[in-house]
Point group: C3
Amino acid sequence: MAAAWRSCSLLALSGRFTVQQKLGRALYQSQWVTSHRNLSTSQIAVEVNESTGVAVMKMKKPPVNSLNLDFLTQFSICMEKLELDRGCRGLVITSAIPKIFSAGLDILEMYGKTDEHYAEFWRAVQEMWLKLYGSNMATIAVINGNSPAGGCLMALSCDYRIMTENPKYSIGLNETLLGIVAPFWFRDTMINSIGNRATELSLQLGLMYSAPEALKIGLVDELIPEDKIYETALNTMSRWLAVPDHARQLSKSIMRKATVDRLLTHRESDVQNFVSFISRESIQKSLGKYMEKLKQRKET
Amino acid sequence: MAAAWRSCSLLALSGRFTVQQKLGRALYQSQWVTSHRNLSTSQIAVEVNESTGVAVMKMKKPPVNSLNLDFLTQFSICMEKLELDRGCRGLVITSAIPKIFSAGLDILEMYGKTDEHYAEFWRAVQEMWLKLYGSNMATIAVINGNSPAGGCLMALSCDYRIMTENPKYSIGLNETLLGIVAPFWFRDTMINSIGNRATELSLQLGLMYSAPEALKIGLVDELIPEDKIYETALNTMSRWLAVPDHARQLSKSIMRKATVDRLLTHRESDVQNFVSFISRESIQKSLGKYMEKLKQRKET
Amino acid sequence: MAAAWRSCSLLALSGRFTVQQKLGRALYQSQWVTSHRNLSTSQIAVEVNESTGVAVMKMKKPPVNSLNLDFLTQFSICMEKLELDRGCRGLVITSAIPKIFSAGLDILEMYGKTDEHYAEFWRAVQEMWLKLYGSNMATIAVINGNSPAGGCLMALSCDYRIMTENPKYSIGLNETLLGIVAPFWFRDTMINSIGNRATELSLQLGLMYSAPEALKIGLVDELIPEDKIYETALNTMSRWLAVPDHARQLSKSIMRKATVDRLLTHRESDVQNFVSFISRESIQKSLGKYMEKLKQRKET
């Protein structure tokens, strides 16, 4: 898709694009840019470039941007502010931490806690996805490192995915390998990008794809060398912002509304399913073993 | 797909195909053909070859086969006659105008008119699609030129798409760029051909694909040099007509009925949505600007 | 998919895989294996390897493993036993007859019989699919020969498909060419593997795909030389069994339950549709002609 996308002829817009590409470059060469607004929280750096209308969000929660309750809450608050900001039309999401985009849901939030805690955590996961998948902004994920499980879900929820051209980085919904199961809206989000069959293999086997494999099956849209990835994202964004906002937003809604509504309709039963699944003795035991292994690895 | 299709082994039918291919060639070499019936209207030339059961429909509404109320009405009447004609089993749709298949919906029908007019126009667009997407005939689009927006929809509504092998020609649902939005049944028709992800990119960005790009993502099935395209279409049609009619029609219905029924169920609300959207002041203003631009281009 | 699948990095499981691959090889080298259980029937050979938990089912109904009422009943009984056997986690399905996987539904069951017989037969076809498509086991089809119609359905109902690398063998849902029509759950099963557009072409034209074509469109996952295919299947199975059972089964269910439920909900009307279609005079006549042709072929 990416190649086709880049070379496609957008009728009647070639003139506009030149202007927009200059804007993209201008944003990249930060000395040209005059005004930034800062919406950062302790774990998420957010800058809105007021001249281009593009926000850049950098996740900075060491060591691996794991999605715990606190981080997810900060994320949803950020999204809400950006969404209400009429001057902000596009969002680039990336990581400030080398080699990792996000390690996904924090297992600590799913182990040895009360049912109330599990429910609260899961609602925060749902909220993150609802805000991102249903955003009115044009959203681009710059996947500059590994991106398993919930990290992959975040990337899949954006409108476009650019990944570092590095076969060492991988991405995928690999929950199954931990003995847990991706809920229906993870599944739907993946099917909407890579289709039913590739999703079936992915979920049954908990597959992680290297960057080139991810490109091949459409899990990401482009691979770009690390030192060009940010510039590419901003140039790409300028093309998305060349499209009239209201028509782009309505088109996005016509593509995603049914998927979003499915979770909204079943939100509370989805929380209950998660709580009753994760609190099972067998699941807790297997998560415990997994964390033990991780700990041993770190120590050696 | 096309390559696979061409070389696939149709069990037990190899003998029949030889005969059918001869029929295809016979139709092409018009001196062999004995009887034609003419159903043409002022803007659409239609000839039914009675020996092969194949109708060829050529759109001839200068300058760009734009789909206005009059043309759409002629089209639907034609389709109805062909559908009722038991001797007509296949339909080839193409353009009699060089370099353009169809420019899509006529913007003049959407600008500065009454709500009643918008509603009447939209019902005619719906009718065109219902007749074509749900046709019992085997339908092949010969896309011999540019095919944006409604032109792309017409092509996507056929059973098979052959496009001129010319990278200058492009095809796509680019409504978004004009600030308007493809309705759900345009979306469904595209998803049914190229899948969810490619459709999402197409609709959000209003992408036009050059002929080679269109082949790559499955928006068309084959690219053929201009001087062979008509012959290829007739040969291809002879393969479709080698399949028993009732089984082919039932299989088509099992694939398309749910999509057709969705519009039939929501037809009137779809009309209302269109009318209230298109009559908005902001939309009218942006269409006005667009037409001004087109006029200036012609004048220079 | 296959290549990506083979090289994908399954996080944290590399150690386990080495062990599992040894198990795979161990099963192949049968002298290493200590204990087998035999569940065979007259037309189906079934052996469960108790140390690996893998059952191998070989269809052996000469001349072409056609699916008649008796065979389907034996198949469903086998599946039920395997499903209830907690020690059996994976199933490999293949043919004991050279050059054919299965020729599909037995036409003799659909010709010149009573409506009651048609209904009984169709329920048995449904039961076969429900048992296989919804199995809790990891299922791999080893397609070691031609696999038209119902044979293709069986293969598509497994979790993974490995076909002999031989362009002479072909696979596809070609019912349309016999004048009969694949029901909605055949359609759904195919769409879930190869998507909507390829299914539409397949069903309308009754396409058979050679092994390389089948790989290209995703109808099978891998092509392997005949003498390596069994070993490959067992190695592949060891990778599926490295995934925790309950998470793999829940992921499979989340992908397939809606499709299974659609048939369960409409099971009786699907039987009625089949009976009223197949008992039509025109259909009986065309099946009669087809069988006459087959008979003549055998005699010459």
